[in-house]
Symmetry: C2
Subunit: 603 residues, 2 copies
């Protein structure tokens, strides 16, 4: 199995680490230390050796930070993780602080005293995030200083070795564009900004640009490393040599010069006189400081690979369609299994997650999950970022809703789908809420929009039907998705928050409105969809775009209240189910096929 | 009459001014000069003495800028004004440059040479806008320098005298809150930011805070001046003494110390050691420099009056309701008159604007128009910022649409309404487009939304029906409106562009989707509406808000295609018209009343 259900982290970690860390800090003459969740690549998923925040505090959420002072310490987590933080961290040792509402800067302003010196590791934070902390420290007469080596690493005696997964080729049959062509166009883009080269520290950019994948972090096939991409299309790649075998070396070709990771710092130091593009959102402060120390001119601009990577080409889209049909068949088999097994009353959340993973593995093409499945029964479904572990594992109960959000990494595409399933007879409220979420999902599926439209404009479409009933959900509606890369990928996004990035053809986004009744149940309906230029509307004047749905698996008809749907919405649902049946029928057989036919019958 | 229809500006202005300005610049050792549209108060409407851009170039648009170099000059205008700029400016002398797509900075970067010195008046630009220009000049080795006196003023021999309109009281019966209470709460807000005082340079803030109005600029009752608002609630007001008579002096009271305008600079110079809040969006660079030179600590933050001013209290809302009924009756009488006169074929756009103004003046309470009426027949209606003048005046033709966007300034409220009227039989296309615009207007009228919702989230509701037909409009959907103050007022806005300001109870916004067929016709439907907390929806969980419509006047039923409306939309239209009839019937009589009854009949 890929997914583990062992509860990680917990208060013992911080209890053990904190006194040792304080001793280490004292020995270095530091009055405190700042520990962000981020690693050297400012990644979402970290290799085990970079789980410094978990080691020092016990908190394993996917975002957060800690500050350790000599007499107090704080763990910062956002609203998604405050409950989890309360259970994973010893609250006698760590104050739990809201990362968004309060923030590290405000906490430092309140608790630092004049003359104190707090250390930070400049490899683990963007210059922008550090600037706020520096400002806070200065405001009270304290000082933030960069450390040469990380004190958490110094006390981490059983620290796992860094990952050394082999780099593999992502051939053109999946990537749709040769690495040479990508290097040439990125080189040209770099030249057009007036820079000589770009410093690329995002592993996803390396993967996309060089048509390679890796296995250094869980759930995303990233090769950890860094690169200098030059205006002439050549690339210096800094990566542990044991990851690159002869085949990979041949695949990368002569225009990609290979260097050990350790050579990255000296390479930056040699850029005096050059103009180097670096992205303050994805490169660490240490990169900017090294460039400045070298006498390079630093051009702060978005990583030039981000937008080209987000706009999938026709080969990538075709691959994603294929991956979704394969994945949709596996999910449908799973849903058929669930409908047969759940009424027997013996399933738990872990059983369900295991079964779904098994159906995906049965395809023979699953490389990894794209994230740990969120498998929530009843009230656990209302916890938006729930991750089931043995201590929280809940039986699937009659009369409850079951929410499962999951996805697969296939060589030809990355999937992400959420379905909410009725176990036994749903209540009228459940059907009402589910149908409102479905109305939002449909509105965001059928919308037609002009060039220049951004995600913050469309978000309301997914919420309207809930708003009419005085309801809402507290998460974004859509995130970007990669092509056999990250299941969360920018710059596009559909959310309330402002986002300046226009939606462009080829961008893949999730469409996942939800509703959560705390202590009761959770509902979410999620398909992926790709931005598509539309043929001209007769009489129309603007080039319009729309979405093509990529995800095909039944939506639970037992939770739909047809009286709440307009005729057009009902037509959408029936057409969607007809498409699900047409696309998946020849991939299923026997009882699974019978189930599919019933589950996709028109309403 | 208030509105003038004389064509202003024109190429002769620039032809006369440009050589004289160049001589003046040469005498001062400057190689160029930057002339923004803005005045010392960064106002939308300028007093005649501050129309420097019009004097130097001939361009009279409400936004823009010019740069004059020794051998070339450029006039910058945004998309709304590019056509107007072509006709008002001698294009042999001025290159017309897109203010948004290119911008002043990019133009400077291309045309400045190393060693050149370009002057600017630091009283006329915000520090943020100047920073971009300075960066551009530095990038090519040129220099931007502040001038002590404006060279345009130096060559402007017949420059009008500065306005000296009397300050009048805005009593609590209209303002709903005493100036003493406002000063106390703004003082507290200033204290909470850690500042000792706020520098207020926005005349609208002075007007709101001190419960006064003025008459120094057209269309908005602003008193030009500046103030220091102190944390203890006292205020130093800097204003030309002839504007403040004994009654106004008594109204302002002892906590407001009066000073001549000329004392403002020295007062800033005396703030050494203080912490002064100043708003980089509304205060000029000269203010920031004076504070820095004085040794004050500058706190850059929004003008503390902006948000309280935007959230109208119950007295202001009630006044606005009253103003809208009065205005709606005048507009209805006008619409009845138009329907009777237009078919005779003798009306022109100017006749129509004059008639509407006369109906408003007939109320006996009109203080000013809230802006010059946009009165456009046929294709002129498709010019979004059309302002009719004698040379462009067009007859009202049969089979055309007529668009009229207008508003009044009343002591109890500011109005703004757009109606589109069919003259003779409209085409099927006109009815289709009108009905789609109406669907958008209705969607934005009935929406229910949770706390924290911003205008960029709601904008799409007004566009959806047009998008479905491949159509759109290129302007925002809603702007804030003042209470006997500016008809355009922030910080709230409903538009595609990101806007971080949540919609709050008491904020008044326009709801004005449109459609424009270039060379054909223009459609816009505009009502004002106020944000209102809603009673809890049964079963709902969130505090929701909605809009109360403030504007009451018939929407042309002849342009509505009922087949395109949902039942709920048709219900809205019929209910709106029933309300129009109920609210206005006793204000009309005879033929006007007969017209109203017919115009508000259910469909």
């Amino acid at each position: 199995m890929i997914q583990s259900f062992i509860a990680e982290g917990g208060p013992d970690a911080g209890r053990a680490a904190l006194p040792r860390l304080r001793t280490e800090l004292a020995a270095r003459g530091l009055d405190g230390f700042y520990i962000p969740h981020e690693d050297e690549w400012l990644n979402e998923y970290l290799p085990a050796c970079a789980e410094r925040l978990a080691y020092a505090t016990g908190f394993t959420g996917s975002a957060g930070a800690a500050v350790v002072l000599s007499d107090k310490a704080a763990l910062f987590a956002d609203g998604r993780y405050t409950l989890q933080a309360q259970t994973q961290v010893d609250t006698e040792l760590f104050e739990i602080v809201d990362l968004v509402e309060v923030g590290v800067g405000a906490w430092l302003r309140e608790h630092l005293k004049a003359g104190l010196t707090v250390g930070y590791d400049p490899r683990l934070s963007s210059p922008d995030s550090l600037a706020k902390l520096e400002e806070a420290a200065e405001a009270v007469g304290a000082r933030l200083v960069a450390v040469e080596t990380n004190p958490v690493d110094a006390i981490w005696t059983d620290r796992p070795a860094p990952p050394r997964a082999r780099v593999t080729a992502q051939p053109e049959v999946f990537s749709g564009e040769s690495a040479a062509d990508k290097r040439a166009r990125i080189g040209k883009a770099i030249e057009e900004t007036g820079a000589d080269l770009a410093v690329l520290t995002s592993p996803a950019s390396l993967a996309w640009l060089l048509n390679i994948r890796g296995g250094d972090v869980p759930r995303t096939p990233l090769p950890l490393g860094a690169a200098l991409a030059h205006a002439d299309g050549s690339v210096d790649l800094f990566i542990a040599p044991e990851k690159v075998d002869d085949a990979a070396r041949a695949w990368l070709g002569n225009a990609v010069a290979l260097h050990d990771e350790a050579a990255f710092g000296p390479a930056l130091a040699g850029l005096g006189g050059k103009t180097a593009l670096a992205d303050p959102a994805s490169a660490a402060a240490s990169v900017f400081r090294a460039l400045e120390a070298a006498g390079a001119t630093v051009k702060r601009a978005p990583d030039p690979c981000i937008l080209p990577r987000a706009c999938k080409n026709e080969v990538e889209i075709e691959g994603t369609r294929r991956a979704h049909l394969r994945d949709g068949a596996a999910v449908s088999r799973f849903l058929a299994w669930f409908d047969a097994e759940a009424p027997k009353g013996r399933l738990t959340e872990i059983d369900v997650a295991r079964a779904l993973e098994a159906f995906r593995r049965d395809t023979g093409e699953l490389v990894d999950l794209s994230f740990d499945s969120i498998s929530g029964a009843g009230p656990n479904g209302a916890i938006v970022h729930y991750r089931v572990t043995e201590p929280t594992n809940r039986p699937v109960g009659d009369g409850e809703l079951f929410l499962i959000d999951s996805g697969g990494q296939y060589r030809d595409g990355t999937t992400d789908i959420t379905r909410t399933i009725a176990v036994g007879a749903p209540t009228a409220d459940m059907r009402d809420r589910f149908t409102r979420v479905l109305k939002g999902h449909i509105a965001l599926s059928v919308v037609r929009f002009p060039k220049g439209t951004t995600g913050h404009q469309l978000d309301v479409l997914a919420r309207m039907a809930l708003w009419q009933a005085g309801l809402d959900y507290d998460h974004g509606t859509g995130h970007g998705v990669g092509s056999f890369l990250g299941v969360h990928e920018g710059p596009q996004r559909i959310a309330r928050a402002a986002n300046a990035q226009a939606l462009l053809p080829g961008m893949i986004l999730s469409n996942e409105p939800g509703y959560y009744k705390t202590g009761g149940y959770g509902i979410r309906i999620e398909n992926l969809q790709v931005v598509t230029p539309l043929a001209d509307v007769p009489g129309g004047e603007r080039q319009m775009m729309g979405f093509e749905t990529l995800t095909f698996a039944p939506i639970d008809r037992r939770l739909v209240e047809p009286a709440l749907l307009t005729e057009a919405e009902l037509d959408w649902l029936n057409a969607y189910h007809a498409a699900v049946r047409a696309k998946l029928a020849d991939r299923l057989s026997g009882a699974d096929l019978d189930w599919l036919i019933a589950a996709t019958a028109p309403i």
